[in-house]
């Protein structure tokens, strides 16, 4: 059986994603001063230019900080499953680009570490009544085994 998937929003990440074209976040770059923004922004908050171009962001970076979400967020705006499972969020530093806030795939805070390598992925954060998975971007530990050995 094929599971139907859809993106939570247009223009957020490259879609559809498959092994031959892994997902990338869609940011923008100011045509005048080069400031990188995510999500893509037509106006530059550094130089006030209104000219920008699309820029696909790096698909890996390092974990700058993180926290857990242990209660179901107010709904709306949250439209995740009613049966709530705690999740984690963090900021990932994409070198030379920006720090981006994202859900993390690792739900256990004891298995996260500031500075660890992270890689972009897509996750179904909720499932619609007809079975369609709604996909959003998330970051996963890039090399978890190595991290465990280093911290133990």
């Amino acid at each position: 059986m094929t599971i139907t998937q859809k993106s939570v929003a247009e223009g957020l990440f490259t879609w559809p994603a498959d092994p031959s074209s892994p997902p990338r976040l869609i940011g923008s770059e100011c045509a005048d001063c080069g400031l990188v923004s995510f999500p893509a922004a037509p106006d530059c908050v550094r130089c006030a230019s209104t000219e920008s171009k699309e820029r696909l962001l790096s698909d890996h970076g390092t974990l700058w900080t993180y926290t857990t979400q242990n209660f179901r967020p107010p709904s709306p705006p949250y439209d995740g499953p009613v049966a709530f499972e705690p999740y984690t969020v963090g900021y990932i530093e994409l070198p030379g680009e920006l720090l981006v806030e994202a859900r993390l795939t690792e739900p256990d805070p004891d298995r996260l570490r500031i500075g660890q390598d992270m890689r972009l992925t897509l996750v179904p954060y909720t499932v619609l009544d007809d079975g369609t998975e709604v996909m959003t971007f998330a970051f996963a530990p890039a090399d978890f085994v190595a991290v465990e050995e280093e911290t133990s």
Binding site: P74, P77, Y78, Y87, V89, G90, P95, L98, T136
Partner: protein, 382 residues
Amino acid sequence: MTEAVIIGVGLHPFGRFAGKPALDMGADAVRLAMADAGVNWPQIQGGYIGSYEVANPDAIVGRLGLTGVPLRGVFNGCATAGTAIALAARAIETGEHDLTIAIGLDKHPRGAFAADPSVAGIPSWYGQTGLFLTTHFFGMKINRYMHDHGISHETLARVASKNFRNAAGNEKAWRRTPLSPEEVLASPVLNYPLRQFMYCGPNEGAAAVVMCRADQAHKYTSTPVRVRATALRSRRLGAFEVQSPSFPVGEPVESPTVDAFRAAYELAGIGPEDVDVAQLQDTDAGSEIIHMAESGLCKDGEQERLIAEGATEIGGRLPVNTDGGLLGNGEPIGASGLRQIHEIVLQLRGTAGTRQIPGTPRVGFTHLYGAPGASAVTILST
């Protein structure tokens, strides 16, 4: 320029008051402040009034008297009351009014704030996927700060315990049950490393502050409190602020709290070393710790030792949130900063009762921080 002085403060208790409208709480606070100042409503020449839940809080004139007084509604997130007091002071300083009032009132439903991200200029997916929570920011900011500056979980718990202990001695506070650091650490994690008893909650309450020209203060009081400086700053590019889907890599930029304190100290000609008592925005225990450094009261990382030594206790060298802060009082957004002013005024008058700090305090400040990265500071002195 004429200086503004505070001649009266009034505080409606913070908590839950079923059936009592926010406007009635506000009117009670105004009457208390006017009685404290020895003035009546027709004497008030103008004012600023802040609320999140009440669309037109200036309707309070229907409770107080239809005198035609210009009351301007203000809203600036959690910095609302700091904005109201700043503008009321400015009306005195510029000579517009001789006698003015700042009022704050709010009545929030239970639970975490919920909003449409679009009101903050943020796309829908940010809320849909569970990222649009202010509590995430506080968890992530203190997690990084603990990593960088060696702050322990026990120190987080000591801050919460101290504020609940102070609130226990404050008859107008909401959370008046003392909790030990161990009890705080035993409460469930909400946003790692922050636990249930390390967060403040939205609630209800009101406060008001009456001000006049310094050269007329003798007509009303023998203990005027001087408004030495007010400063408000919004976030700068590169600072790590609440509700930010991303922010730039590069040189770290200081928070609006650092910027606002720097401006306020310069305006007042007063430095952090002169401060006797402080009110810091403690949305959570981590925020109080970070704001101690951002306000200049200590260096990054010194909090671990200072808090262990009891420096921020009522009897300590740097008393912080002597009335229980937001943790003990909760946060009716429009009123919260005027509740802080109320406490500093009592401390500088020497009338804070069992919460009174020792000695003869001369200088105090108040501080608010809120979404989407705005900070308001007020420096008061005798």
